[in-house]
Symmetry: D2
């Protein structure tokens, strides 16, 4: 996750139940929210979760015991090892090497370098009882943060893959022993903390295709769950780089050149000029990472890098399109070229009542601490939002530190009882959810219906936004 | 003329014989200047003028006596009257009304409102001996300056038309009496001091077509003549207005609007950004005469007005074209439209040795004061330069004031002996030149050959510039 | 009022009961709002108004009958006459001449040109029973709007002074007849539609000093009243002009000048650059009404004119101060001077439950149409907000047109039954409120206590804001 | 030298004899140039050089033979070794280590790290006959260029110190043998190709104090000498960095920050806005080497780096001062701080007829090739110009390559006959000049008088400029 917890806290001070923050969004969402309420009333996910967690199920309990064996037997040590060998995004070669060895040893078929990403992988396993059952997906991240004192695992991504493997190994055993058909797929996703967003690239490359459910765990300071609906932590985002290319010349004959930096500065200023032409809910911030090489040469290359944020993706696209025009107009004005690189997208994701409530109920039952009963703002189970629109899933968030994300203190909790015990609960919750999804066809059906309905409602919401903005978006 | 005499003096401090001020211009002009030198050596205009003015010619002397009668009898009073009834550019209705009455009374056919300009006119007269001789053209201006104390004739345009009429009436008498075939055309040209440039509009409309020679007088503090060649007083100029048109909206919902002022300001700033992309000899200055109507409404209209100057017209067009791109790019960036109005053009004109030397010689012979023997920078006989490229002609500049152009002191000299005596010399010089051109076929042939050769050399010079700038002008 | 009714309607779609729109404002106001609620519970203004209007009072009923006589007898004709002789802000000489004649004829002492404003006046009358009673104040406006088809009374200010005079004359008769001590003061306030804000100037000059209550009527499309509290229609506003002064020079020697337009454009752009440094609730819009005189002269003077709006006055002052620095910095950068003129201020005003509910109840009782039962956003009874902080008062808003403010259709309603009958109700409501305030000491006391308490709470609210913003406002 | 030879060639196409390029400079220099002409007529340096080189002098010839022995015996190999171990500016540790070892071995006292520069050194030697004679100074550079294929000695600085040492060793022997009192000082000056300018720093630290003459050699494609006077290759230069420092904040609460990048961009744009306020002979070019770290954080630091060039140092200071105001004004406008770092200065230097003609005559006599007889634009013998104003000296430029400076082809010539033979001539010329200066008191006197007179004339020239610019420089 890309935001400091202090800021997160300040944002949570806003009404937490509503993902829609602008009047336009609320208007577009109003009929949709009514239908979500009706859907959730039908599904009654809290009661459903209550029933599922409370029931006696010897197989499940044995499964969770095996998760614990795998965790304490090896995975906790693997988590510590990755924690002590931090590697930043897209450079996680040690982690990937180790994790894929473990998975291959357990009988998984592993593809590395998927979707063109060097440190992305998929590990697949088919039940000896045959593949004709659900495909259970688990997501594992492993990139570290860059800090002034070197790289560090201040977001506890070191634990995520060992947690997933502990759950996967126990499920493997259960499916083998009980001859339950189906598949397990473990997705190794690099670079969560940096652009470009790996999961969006993997999603577009079809890597997640075939998964019927996805689970992911993440470090946090409180045990929470989202409310059913759609939303995103910190606005929908486009990350875009604008590269201007001119013609160099010596300063003393500058008229033979075409100044790419002037175009970059003109564009950067144009974005400021456009601010009142956009709704005030926009948050757009840029830098100039490349601004010329030597003062006595006309710069032939310059780059502006922007994070464009808006509460919804429809108006975000409108802003993005006007910024494209501003970049092209600036290039035309200065007689240079511009190349526009859309580096990353972060979007509203979908939270399902069925899965979020179930994860929350299991977490509480298994001893998670610092439980917040109030449901949180809905958001997908992965940061880009895109995967959660296609595949039902849940993010497991069990309190694993007393210290804010992205701190050295949270890093320390990786290696002590506070972190270790929370990671074990994460692994058990992942295993339990996948077990219920695998073995309970009616529950599986409910989850799938909820997801399908929610996705359709999301489309209606977007259509509503498009109609609301139509007038002001016209050229 | 559009420049204060103080500034003019400072410019004249630069080498006065060379019209070409930049190295590129000089390089492009070098072979052409050699040929101009050869041409002038062949023509030997100073000696030619010497011979023409020194020879005895009773008809000419009688003609000049008649000019004096017309001037002192009526034209001087008409000059004073216009001087006391100043009217600014394109509003010279009293002056035109009076002048055309005088000309009609003298038997001229007068067309008013020519070339779509309300206060422009042409007065034509054909000799009773038939029209099959040269057409003698005279130019008359009559617009006043705007000043803080009201309009005033600080550039002495009040005298110009009476001067031309005095010469024309005397020639009319001569041609009638001596049965000399030919025509006289007197061109009333409004608004010399303000845009749009009337003579360029009249030239494009074909108004001057058919004239074989054109003469014009102008107030000055020194009696001078130009060197043969091409040039312009104060750089070639494009006067261009850029009108941006957006969409209004109340301040509190500014996102429904498109801000034309932001586009105008962006463009104005873009011109500054481009300055080092142009050779430093450029002089480009703008204002924002329309910058929005009310601060609580998004401006839907804004205008930037530029004077673009460069020593030569080829690079000037290059700058103009890049400014067009800057305006279009700024409009694209802000989501507004732009309309680009080319309001005026001022260009290198052609000075002929034959006519300039003859005018200078007559002026000296007739008693002009404050004579400057050094030839001046070449320039056309009218401010746009365009007419002088097509039709041979000369501007008569006899010292008519001790005070700078555009001053109240020069205005005062309109009405005293200083001005009156100079205007009379102007009229005589105009008459004498037209007489020689009319009656001396060999001289006429020499003038026409010089003009044709010079125009061809000018084309070669422009081609040379185009080639010299080719690299840096390519997109 | 300065906003189109369409926009107003869109703004009213936001929660109408809360004046505080930002989270910071709401936080600062929270304890204050609790106390306002407690105050209003104690005062119970709705019930109080119910009792006052419902009670039998022969004197009051006779008073209202006299108001009607004055209106139909003469004031309606005066309203029509002013309506047919529209004069824009600060040029209302015919209106002031006529109104002051009427008031003088009725025994008022009239001072014109008060507070240095040519068309402002105060008319005062002391009861023959002595001045030792309350001073009843009435406000009258009379400026017209400028339109593309000429000036027009599209905001119905023509009726305001006749309405006030009808009420004043009836009160005069009552106080004389019944020997009730006290005073009447009628304030003629010019230029409501244009800057500078006349009432703020008059307030600062002490013109309103001594008034115990103030009433004003205004045209509207619905009969409404405000909720008790403080607020403003369309954010707190500073209207500021930034005049840059440089040094002129001819374009061809521009280095001898200092370009005031460049400084103005730099400042205008700097405001855009600062937008993300201010909270997004700010609304800041500017124009460049003076941007240079001629393109061939370096502009030595340029002006930028801004409307700076923010929901509260504390952060507004912060923005204003940063803009002052931006203007000074731009002037320093370009080597020119800047003069900053604070032309106008519009601020949160105070609405009192006692007076607003009473006005609303009388309006309904007297037949006002298109009644909106929902209380509206609080705001002062005059557009600057400043007077309402010092003196209790109420704005009477009886539906007087079916067409939006500032339209030609609303102008037409000035002269027909729709307008005439509403204006009569306005006059009666003003008279009735002043009558109750004059004759009911307990009610008067309640009004005064409510105002005093509210003003103290407003100071606490402002102190709360100051503390909330302290960190981000520090340099 | 900091300019490509292609550009240099294009500049040399301008009149080569005049250092003064602007009209103002020429006006200020006019009386001074007359006096320089008179001075040179008195000195008659060409004839003087003719006599000195042509005379028979066995000691000198033996000296030159010893130079050749040292060069071929060891210094050529040292030049090759440094050529094969290129080190960029201020990182020349291998070179300095080797050179100082050689000098210490020869009996020089060596101080390293002088003037606070790690790779600067001074090597001093006093004659056994006593120090009471002239101090002969030699300058040696050793920094390489950075290129796309790694560092390389494309400007042949590898040879400069070995050349100087060969001359110094021969002189050492001569002074010892012949008991000539005096001193030798060899200055190791780092980083000629990069800022900050080492020689200016060393000069300000007093390192060169005491030297009576300074010689330096440099690679070139032609054998030339400068005309007596003052000037600089490519305008006077200030190299200045403007560092803006704000306050960081997350993008989503940007109003808590102060944006240093906006200030940097505002300043960069302000420089463009000021261009027409400066004479067109200015050449000012900048880059933004630091423009923010991450797009989701308000940049708290940004830097703009400028090369400010003008033909003379007086107007250059005026531009620099206005840019300082522009930077401070931009910082004030954005609420941030700015730190202005003057990193480098390059100024008019002094060329002496006596020394330049003598060096040229010796070079020709000793077999230098590609001789250009036309004297070149005057300039100091070192790139900052400052040292040459205080100490007489000469730059020896013997054609040492057929390929332009800063090319890989010139690098190759370091190691072949073309380069080797030229370097040997360089060493002999340096030795011969220092020999004449040491042994010929009359010549020494002439040199010193010429330098003193020239320095005084330079002061008068600067005073003339100051007076010429006074009006336009006033605030």
């Amino acid at each position: 996750m890309r935001l400091s917890s202090a800021l997160l806290a300040s944002l949570l001070a806003a009404p937490p139940l509503l993902a829609q923050t602008t009047a336009t969004e609320r208007a577009a969402a109003a009929p949709v929210l009514t239908e979500i309420d009706a859907l959730e009333t039908r599904v009654a996910p809290t009661q459903l979760a209550q029933r599922l967690t409370a029931r006696a199920d010897a197989d499940r309990d044995r499964l969770l015991a095996r998760v614990e064996s795998h965790w304490t037997g090896s995975m906790q040590a693997l988590s510590d090892w990755i924690g002590h060998h931090p590697e930043p995004g897209f450079k996680e070669v040690l982690a990937v090497d180790t994790l894929t060895k473990v998975l291959r040893a357990a009988g998984f078929r592993v593809d590395t370098g998927v979707a063109g990403l060097h440190t992305a992988f998929v590990a697949r396993w088919d039940s000896p009882a045959g593949p004709n059952g659900p495909t259970l997906g688990l997501i594992g991240e492993y990139d570290a943060l860059r800090g002034t004192q070197g790289d560090f695992h201040g977001d506890q991504h070191n634990a995520q893959s060992p947690v997933a493997i502990a759950a996967a190994l126990a499920l493997q055993e259960y499916m083998t022993e009980k001859k339950v058909p189906g598949r397990i797929a473990l997705y190794g996703t690099p670079g969560e903390e940096v652009d470009p967003p790996a999961k969006a690239i993997m999603w577009k490359a079809g890597v997640f295709k075939g998964a019927d459910i996805l689970v992911r765990s993440h470090s946090t300071t409180q045990t929470t769950r989202g409310r059913a609906g759609f939303g995103v932590c910190c606005l929908n985002i486009n990350s875009v780089k604008y590269v201007f290319k001119g013609r160099p010349s010596h300063q003393m004959s500058s008229w033979n050149g075409r100044n790419a930096l002037e175009a970059a500065v003109m564009f950067y200023t144009a974005v400021d000029r456009l601010r009142t032409t956009w709704r005030p809910d926009a948050s757009i911030q840029g830098i100039i990472p490349e601004g010329g090489a030597a003062p006595n040469v006309v710069p032939d290359r310059a780059m502006v890098d922007y994070y464009i944020r808006y509460p919804d993706e429809v108006y975000l696209a409108h802003i993005d399109s006007m910024m494209t025009n501003a970049a092209r107009g600036s290039a035309m004005a200065m007689g240079v070229d511009v190349e526009i690189q859309h580096v990353g997208e972060y979007r509203d994701g979908i939270s399902l009542g069925t899965l979020d409530e179930l994860a929350f109920a299991y977490a509480k039952k298994l001893g998670a601490t610092k439980v917040v009963e109030e449901p949180q703002r809905p958001s997908g189970y992965e940061e880009t939002g895109l995967v959660s629109r296609e595949i039902p899933g849940v993010g497991v968030t069990v309190a694993s530190s007393d210290h804010a994300n992205h701190t050295y203190e949270m890093t320390a909790d990786n290696f002590n009882e506070k972190g270790h015990s929370a990671f074990l609960i994460d692994a058990k919750v992942e295993a339990a959810i996948l077990y219920d999804f695998l073995t309970n066809p009616q529950f599986r059906q409910t989850v799938q219906t909820e997801h399908k309905t929610m996705a359709a409602l999301f489309d209606r919401y977007v259509a509503g936004l498009r109609s609301a903005y139509a007038d002001e978006m016209k050229p």
